[in-house]
């Protein structure tokens, strides 16, 4: 029994309840949220150290042993995801508190945000397929509320698409669960790992494919990404930032977890690699065609999901290590970029490239804050994206997957092109339209300090992950070893007595 594992799920749910009770005071609500998320970050650090030191940590709710009871498991991959998610949730919360506007003053924002945190953490920590479903549903339900909180027409419309697609994916997830249960008679992931290995190849491939489709919708894989760039940009900036940083990554986490633990080798490698390459290429081409900062960044999410899936598709320790490293780097950098995008909108009054311009003169700080994560995303040394891409491409070269090497390098160049399009359009060149609003040339900061501080921290994070990438990469390799050979995971879950 290890209480640390339950805290990241229980604390935010309790916090959400308290937040409703103190709904009259916005100040008290903020204090509750910040306390809870800081506590979770501390728990995540403790968990990370413990997991890295002693191996997989398992706890069974109510003392029922696996596979009967509900198990919570943390291995190196889930621990690092938990920590990254906790830091992002805290940074974006501070940004949301700092941003003026109607949404953050909504009475429900803080409690819904905490429910989202609980759902994300539950998805990372669960050792049970059905609870993965519950965790993802919790997170999605909170995200439905957050995306439509403003109640504006465009939000309602894009929110509608988002809810319908997600609900469809959930129904498919449940159907996949039903098939898995019918075939294997258990939903505990560690137990499934053993049982599924004994099933006929066709059944395994069908189940693995179904789960890839289900989580592919959530993660935005080719050709299931079409809902993402339409729904994300309409939400308020902090909400878009946390969606971009975390929600799709929960899908990636679920893909990597199910494919490595339950269905290793069930799907042909060429299939996963082709999906990865197509996701990369279509995402970046979509980004180039857009004219809005938030829409370009949303298409980029898709493109970079392809890199993570490529790491999974290589199915080597080096490939998986690259995928883990890339996921962590991408969460930090993408959240940072969206926060800067929100600041651009706040300062310039629009997020459309044709209406913005010359902001390098009025807001030089923003120009730097955008440039650092943008170059990192494109993979320019010495930033974090360089280490992440190098590790993935190195793994692909070692595996002689030349088409993957070529497409990932080409997509990096296109990424640089699309991001420089934003940077030149917003900061360097003048606006295209004569009636564009010229931002006020003030000497003051281009936004409230609470909005700037988290953005600066995340940009510094991109530099730090790049310069000090060694320890994180070593950790990723250790996490990948655990993913590649899940016997320790299975033994830890099933071996724990009552």
């Amino acid at each position: 029994m290890n209480a640390l594992l339950a805290l990241p799920v229980v604390l935010p749910l309790l916090g959400a309840g308290v937040s409703v009770l103190v709904g009259r005071s916005r100040r008290a609500q903020r204090a509750v949220s910040i306390t809870v998320l800081t506590a979770i970050a501390a728990v995540a650090v403790a968990l990370l150290i413990q997991v890295d030191d002693r191996g997989v940590v398992v706890t069974s709710a109510g003392g029922w042993p696996a596979p009967m009871g509900i198990t919570l498991v943390a291995d190196r991959f889930s621990a690092v995801m938990l920590l990254t998610a906790a830091v992002m949730l805290l940074a974006v919360l501070l940004y949301a508190i700092g941003q003026p506007g109607a949404e953050r003053n909504h009475v429900g924002f803080q409690s819904v945000y905490l429910v989202l945190a609980a759902g994300v953490n539950a998805a990372f920590l669960t050792g049970d397929l059905f609870n993965l479903f519950v965790g993802i549903e919790m997170m999605l339900t909170a995200s439905y509320v957050l995306i439509t909180l403003g109640g504006r027409l465009d939000q309602v419309r894009s929110g509608m698409t988002y809810v319908v697609i997600s609900l469809m994916a959930s129904a498919l997830f449940l159907a996949a669960l039903a098939f898995t249960y019918a075939a294997a008679g258990t939903v505990n992931m560690a137990d499934l790992a053993g049982v599924v290995a004994g099933l006929p190849d066709g059944t395994r491939a069908a189940l693995a494919g179904l789960f890839l489709v289900v989580f592919g919708i959530k993660a935005g894989l080719f050709p299931l990404f079409f809902w993402l760039p339409d729904s994300y940009p309409t939400a308020p900036s902090p909400v878009t930032a946390i969606f971009a940083g975390l929600l799709t990554k929960v899908g990636v986490y679920a893909i990597i977890r199910t494919q490595t633990l339950i269905f290793p080798g069930a799907l042909p490698r060429w299939l996963v690699l082709t999906v990865a390459a197509l996701t990369m290429v279509t995402g970046v081409l979509g980004a180039i065609a857009q004219d809005d900062v938030k829409r370009i960044l949303s298409f980029h999410i898709i493109s970079h999901i392809g890199y993570m899936i490529m790491g999974l598709g290589l199915a080597t320790v080096a490939g998986l290590a690259g995928a883990v490293f890339y996921t962590v780097h991408h969460i930090v950098v993408k959240t940072g970029l969206f926060l800067t995008g929100g600041l651009i909108e706040h300062h310039g009054g629009s997020s459309r490239l044709s209406r913005l311009g010359n902001m390098v003169r009025t807001a030089p700080l923003l120009a730097v804050l955008f440039l650092v994560p943008a170059l990192s995303l494109a993979g320019i040394p010495p930033l974090s994206g360089f280490v992440a891409k190098l590790s993935l491409i190195d793994a692909a070269v070692a595996d002689r997957q030349w088409p993957m090497v070529a497409s990932s390098v080409a997509v990096s160049f296109l990424t640089l092109f699309a991001l420089m399009k934003i940077w030149f359009g917003v900061f360097w060149n003048g606006p295209d339209e004569p009636d564009a609003i010229e931002p006020p040339a003030t000497a003051a900061a281009p936004g409230p300090a609470l909005m700037l501080a988290p953005t600066i921290v995340l940009a510094l994070g991109a530099v730090l992950i790049g310069l000090g990438g060694g320890p994180l990469y070593d950790y990723s390799v250790r996490a990948a070893e655990q993913l590649h050979d899940p016997t320790a995971y299975v033994a830890a879950v099933l071996g724990e007595g009552p």
């Binding site: 549903e137 698409t161 129904a171 449940l174 159907a175 039903a178 098939f179 249960y181 065609a289």
Partner: protein, 132 residues
């Protein structure tokens, strides 16, 4: 698992998919409801033959209780989200007065670009329209 239940699941999924492809939001929601019910039935069907008791000791044949517990959770989640969707549809109706899914932004831009090139070809040099 009886053939009638398998057939019913198939019909629910087929009808749900058909409704999901409509343009009216209410039909889409009903379609999702049908698919959700089909999935719940599928989950139930994995638990064994209907009619047997779900608790050990009730007879020789025992129905697996786990799928029933799973279905209960799934029904609650489905119910909550369907009500949320209905609220969204109502909000859309009060704001806009219609019940239709609108075109994709990129689709509209492409359609406008095509119209513009046709107009250019006909000789009527029109100003480039403002993007959506």
């Amino acid at each position: 698992m009886s053939l009638a239940i398998v057939g019913l699941i198939g019909v629910l999924f087929a009808a749900g998919t058909y409704l999901l492809l409509q343009r009216t939001i209410t039909r889409i929601i009903i379609g999702l409801g049908l698919i959700g019910n089909g999935t719940n039935l599928l989950l139930m069907a994995t638990g064994g033959r209907p009619g047997a008791t779900p608790v050990a000791g009730g007879g020789s044949e025992v129905t697996d209780p786990v799928p029933q517990a799973l279905v209960l959770t799934a029904i609650v989640i489905g119910f909550a989200i369907t009500s949320f969707l209905l609220a969204l549809a109502w909000r859309n109706w009060t704001l806009d007065g219609n019940d239709e899914v609108e075109d994709d932004i990129s689709d509209r831009r492409i359609a406008r670009a095509e119209r513009d090139t046709e107009a250019d070809g006909a000789g009527a040099s029109d100003e480039r329209g403002d993007g959506a």
